[in-house]
Subunit: 450 residues, 2 copies
């Protein structure tokens, strides 16, 4: 009996029309990472379970794909890229610090699938390990901002906060230590659900009184007309007695000054309601939004986590990192029209008049590829109209044709499949081929990829 | 108690100094695939076990990482990229045929680890689905040959055979059908172990008499001084009564003619001892060797498999493909000096005189990245000598320096870390920056990657 072809729930195939633009996007992202000196890391999909367990709490442990392998080892598929990073940092004593690495790889979580939530998805993390200074925070933020610039995103802003300011504020308001992560997780939803919802959830979930909630937001959100930097001065007075709050305010001030001097002032905003509901961040935290498209949520988030990487070592290892929401960003770029799906990987479809022409076409295609034109060869000498249809369906912008006459004259016909226009162009030497390549390249980005 | 950082046996971390060159190599490979119109496919790491079972025989089934997930599903990690391809082809009725896809992804096999054999490794497959003509065979071979050209491999040859010729020869010699895969698997070892070893193994494992072995090799290997194409004519007479043998000889002849007319004659050789010990190939088969470095084995192998993809469908789906031995090819390129490991991802290391200079350095680095220079910023204002040492250790070829004096004069110091030479160059406008970029780029390939 034949087995039915099917995919596990929560898993997906990415066909070329989706994976192509995604890979092109990731290629640009990786090029930015490398332009700052970050190198790629690859770690195994499977790890010993004890390496992965306990890092994410009981909830996280339940979400591991964990099993016993043929050698009776207790193993699990990685849940994120941060624990493998911690393991690598602990394992290789000769890493030159500060160590810059990125990793783009799938992770697996046995979660209940939902819209936009899958059991296998790609994470894209870039981290700077071993440097405590605020310059590391500034660098990682510049990496993130440069990624969005490289992807031609027209307007975006990175909203930055410092966990220590939040601690100072929570001290001041009088929120108990054990309630804080819960409160911050709810505050983090502010841009999505609005103040009223947040108030309701804090009251019902954590049981905080309304006057405390009001006091909290009075400290976190500047009064109307008050610029964020002015509000920081206000906080400096309000948190005068809080050492941790003062440290946070000083850190954030120096960070913003550094970024401004480096030319990134316009892309960064203070936002003290950015909370990052993860308890491992120790100071700077940030999220990144596409202006006018905040509904997508943060496309890039991160911060400083100075205690997380020491889980496998007695050394203390400061670190700062940012994580790109690959699927979210791709969806946004598609919606913004900055990339197009469903396009052929090649520039032109070389039609086949008769089977005897194939090798000639292949030889010319080889020459064209050498000058940078991507050519897909037709393998069947069907009717030309049908070949044009096929080429259009595949997403090609151009068709190439060469009959015996053109071949003898060292010419080729270039047909624009969009407009129907066609012209006969020389192709007999490198100059002619390069002119042809320029002609094809200049007719708009060949596949609209970023 | 702290968990010990360790990796599962048979699994590996790829640190940036290895993964960087590997990714750079794969980037070039993917660009060639796309220049022929092939698009990337991504499929889940986990599949239902029944999708994967039985395709590789009992031996293969034992090598699956198979387990029961939290939802009581019988699942397994993929063993290769061919079964997922078959599943995808059966699942999506709207794929436009012929369908061109590539996939570069890890696969998992619970094998006994050995030198060069791992439980997790990357496969790189490019396949052309749905086209029965010999033009598809020619195209996939041209893709493979173009990959090695793009990687600047100086001398290589693709050795090609046709499974149907082997069948005709085995008929003629009188090797029983059930012995054939065993015989072919041993014949396949010929370049590695030599004729004497092969004879011994065929005799001891399959029990074939020496006169039959001699007859076999008389048909497979041309007599001294006889060119391979001449030998094909000889076979045409010897296999006059074999329909399958004649079909193979005709197919191989047309294929070679097509490749020759397309300009690839010099890169392809007939070799009737190429056997590909896998039973799913149906006609053309090929392996690719680096001339003078045959010891690495075939770096790229494949063929036509017209019956494999129909495992999940009643449709018959012809297909042809080639698989790149990523780790083997990388090892060869490293040994040939065509790529270098252990190099920094960036071109230059921007030293830091004092912490107050950081934002200025960052601003200049941003401008340099925009003209294509990859710059890693020093984050610590230690002694300059130590910073040069660090930059050299990281594999940088250049250091950049800018003191207050240079900054005022809109200049930067470029120091060649290899020769120790340094020069002061302008950096105040785009023309100057581009000149600096050209200067850095022209001092040899920045990282020696292919």
């Amino acid at each position: 009996m034949r087995v039915e072809a099917r995919v596990l729930k929560g898993f997906r195939d990415y066909l070329p029309e989706v994976e192509g633009p995604r890979q092109a996007m990731l290629g640009k992202v990786k090029a930015v990472f490398e332009s700052f000196g970050y190198g790629p890391l690859m770690t195994p999909a499977l790890e010993y379970s004890d390496i992965l367990l306990g890092k994410y709490g009981d909830e996280g442990d339940k979400l591991l794909y964990r099993f016993t392998d043929n050698g009776e080892r207790d193993v699990a598929l990685r849940y994120d890229l941060t624990v493998p990073l911690a393991r690598v940092v602990a394992s290789y004593g000769d890493l030159v610090m500060p160590w810059r690495r990125y990793q783009v790889a799938p992770v697996w979580r046995a979660e209940k699938p939902a819209r936009g939530r899958f059991r296998e998805f790609v994470q894209c993390d870039v981290d700077l390990v071993g440097e405590p200074s605020v310059r590391a925070d500034a660098e990682i933020m510049m990496v993130g901002l440069s990624v969005l610039e490289a992807l031609s995103v027209p307007r975006f802003v990175m909203r930055v906060n410092d966990r220590r300011i939040l601690d100072g504020v929570l001290d001041k308001v009088g929120v108990a230590v054990e309630q804080r992560i819960a409160v911050l997780r709810i505050v983090d939803k502010l841009p999505k659900v609005g103040r009223a919802e947040v108030d309701k959830e804090i009251a019902s979930t954590v049981g905080l009184a309304q006057d405390k909630i009001d006091a909290l937001f009075a400290l976190l959100v500047p009064a109307a007309e008050v610029p964020a930097r002015k509000h920081l001065e206000h906080l400096q007075a309000e948190l005068a007695d809080s050492a941790v709050g003062q440290a946070g305010l000083a850190g954030l001030t120096v960070l913003l000054e550094t970024l401004a001097n480096a030319g990134f002032a316009e892309k960064v905003d203070i936002d003290l309601t950015i909370a990052r509901g993860l308890d491992y961040y120790t100071s700077t935290i940030y999220e990144t939004f596409l202006v006018g498209h905040e509904g997508f949520g943060s496309v890039m988030s991160g911060g400083r986590y100075d205690t997380l990487l020491d889980m496998f070592t007695s050394r203390s290892i400061p670190a700062v990192g940012i994580s790109l929401g690959v699927d979210r960003l791709l969806a946004a770029l598609l919606e913004l029209g900055l990339i197009e799906a469903n396009k052929a990987p090649a520039d032109a479809f070389f039609c086949l008049f008769s089977e005897a022409d194939y090798a000639h076409n292949a030889a010319l295609a080889t020459a064209l590829r050498k000058v940078g034109v991507k050519v897909e060869l037709s393998l069947s000498a069907g009717k030309l109209g049908k070949q044009f249809q096929l080429a259009t369906k595949k997403g090609h912008r151009f068709a190439l044709l060469q009959g015996e006459g053109e071949r003898a004259a060292k010419q080729v016909v270039l047909k624009n499949l969009g407009t129907g226009e066609q012209e006969t162009l020389p192709c007999g030497d490198e100059v002619a081929l390069k002119a042809l390549a320029t002609r094809i390249a200049s007719s708009g980005a060949h596949d609209g990829r970023p």
